[in-house]
Symmetry: C2
């Protein structure tokens, strides 16, 4: 498709409550990603900075673009903030890729951050999240747990999925997180522990849900990646698709159409299929989401997603490991940083730098990141 590639990545450790202010988190991510370029880069070589951030209710910061330029040390670049709910980070990559492809920039720095503990209370944090739903859902007082619960219920009714099947997503991703020093929750959980956790919206329990997280992550994307590193992660394909924002507006609650369309688009762009991918980072905001994502990405037939968990396919040592970082569930889900962090993880995997969680021989990776209940979905394939 092009020679555009990621040449550096950085992430703060994801945490429940960071001692840093949101702007300090952003600053560390910017300074860190500049320092990590193998052959070095000057701030003046960055033409555009895209800030990915969800809500100023969390971090108390707006107009973060020019501040990012100050921290970068290049106020001569251009900067702006982008928001597409939980898919803000990969929306930034979608835009960066377009700018680079058009020759409108040579190097784009993407920095995502969210300090969700900056919100006055846990309840308030969920109210802020809910603003990413359809207005009719917002006015009805719906939570994302409630909306994903509708999908889980529909899926269980149609395909006989059980709560213990969904629990396996949490068990797998928590096990993966034990190998990731950047993860928020580095402890194993059992199926029993997941099943006995509190219901937040039947059939979903607390341990089916991703947590509130403070975090920041950053990448640099270049038109001339080989100038900056011998081992970039080339962007082989990227697609952004949308669906109706409201769950109530969709004819089938057991699928996430925008993800399916984006995946098909990216497979078409690259000539690859899900079988060719060595490592997947996907948007497991709730356990049911990961199971549906398997199917949307073509890893499993409709209604058969959970079999991949039972057969070991998507575990760390399986043939198609998913969320070896720990995923949103255990690595954490700092909204604006999430998509950027996924891209960083695949970059490290492809370079063989993922330490204890390195997937052997990983050369091709896929990122699936979506917003709300899937009204925005971005799928990207990266490779050596």
């Amino acid at each position: 498709m092009s020679d555009i590639g990621i040449i550096s990545a950085y992430s703060l450790k994801y945490e429940t409550r960071s001692s840093l202010e949101s702007w300090d988190m952003m600053r560390e991510a910017i300074e860190g990603v500049i320092k990590k370029v193998d052959k070095g880069i000057s701030p003046k070589e960055i033409d555009v900075v895209i800030v990915s951030n969800f809500s100023d209710n969390y971090g108390n910061l707006l107009h973060a673009g020019p501040l990012a330029l100050e921290y970068l040390g290049n106020t001569g670049a251009r900067a702006f903030r982008v928001e597409n709910a939980c898919a803000s980070g990969t929306t930034a990559l979608f835009l960066a890729h377009g700018l680079l492809k058009a020759g409108a920039a040579n190097n784009v720095l993407i920095v995502g951050f969210e300090k969700m503990s900056g919100s006055p209370s846990g309840a308030a944090a969920n109210e802020v999240l809910a603003k990413a739903a359809h207005p009719s859902e917002i006015l009805a007082g719906a939570s994302f747990a409630g909306l994903y619960a509708l999908m889980a219920k529909a899926y269980m009714d149609r395909y006989g999925l059980r709560e213990e099947d969904m629990a396996l997503v949490a068990v797998k991703n928590h096990e993966n997180a034990t190998r990731n020093p950047l993860a928020q929750y580095r402890r194993k959980v059992t199926v029993e522990e997941v099943l006995s956790s509190q219901y937040i919206a039947w059939p979903l329990k607390l341990m089916d849900s991703s947590p509130l997280t403070d975090g920041a992550a950053s990448i640099i994307v270049s038109r001339n990646p080989k100038r900056y590193t011998d081992t970039p992660a080339f962007i082989k394909g990227i697609s952004m698709r949308h669906d109706y924002p409201g769950v109530f507006e969709r004819s089938d609650l057991t699928i996430l159409e925008a993800i399916k369309e984006a995946a098909e688009d990216v497979y078409r762009q690259t000539g690859l299929s899900s079988r060719d991918i060595h490592v997947f980072e996907v948007h497991d905001a709730f356990t049911i989401a990961e199971i549906i994502i398997y199917e949307m990405l073509g890893l499993a037939e409709r209604g058969r997603g959970a079999s991949l968990l039972k057969d070991g396919v998507v575990w760390f040592n399986g043939s198609h490991p998913v969320n070896v970082s720990g995923g949103l569930k255990a690595k954490g889900h700092p909204i604006g940083a999430t998509g950027v962090g996924m891209l960083a993880e695949v970059y490290w995997q492809i370079r063989g730098e993922a330490g204890e969680r390195q997937v052997k021989g990983a050369e091709i990776g896929l990122v699936e990141n979506h917003g709300g209940t899937g009204a925005t979905a971005v799928v990207a394939i990266l490779s050596r």
Copy 2:
């Protein structure tokens, strides 16, 4: 520069307290701008929708991109939200122009909205605004009135500007607003009234400040404008520049460097100078700002901005009318909509559709829109 042009514009009347929800405001702006295309356009011809919105604290809406696609009637397009404080709307144009120039889109719809009355109280509304300042200013409890007051004081000290000189900006823009049915405040004010209004941050008074406003505006920008209208507003030049976010970081408080650089850039792109422009819409968030903007745009020498008010140059019947819409001061300042509304005004002026406020023979117009205390500035020149 290119044949890219605006082919339609729409604006809700700006109001102090709208009876509409933020999403209904966005919906009206989208449906309205589609209907207003002279030769008609199908929603399927829109490839990208860019939403310009400042804070979800006001409108309680996030992830507005896919919702905009639903209202448009084309979920097959791409959408995202962009934020650069008060310059969000023209940042959206900067991005749209880049996409169109690169051939990555044929038609981009930009919709800006802000429902500032959605914030719990007036004080809270100002706290939200302050998040667009530098973190050190945020932590110090600075307000934008306070920050612009620093500039006003420095300017008064150096050039002998008086409070009654600044008051003329408010008097002029309020008079202009009486001719604009879209304006929030359609009443004249006198110098005495401005001078006797309450100090909000000496030397700035309430009547030196733009108000809190509910509003939405929209435009469509096309690669093939003549296909959709015989009288588009061509984008002859556009530039986005940045400065340090903090007023305390700048060596000279009497200038706004990013505006100057953006203006020089646009004059270079177009071969035009300020003398060639028939109508100006500029970012008079505070009266002092408009005076400094005159100088940054080259309409007046340094320190001589206020003379344009005294000499009549920038009044409705002057040689270089500025803010014939009423400006932020009297038309209103619904943050996310502001830049889009300025572009809409110049579009109407160039087409000769501005009714009672029409500047005779207006063929070339300039928009200056900035964020925060000038850390982001966009200048664009439009022409027949």
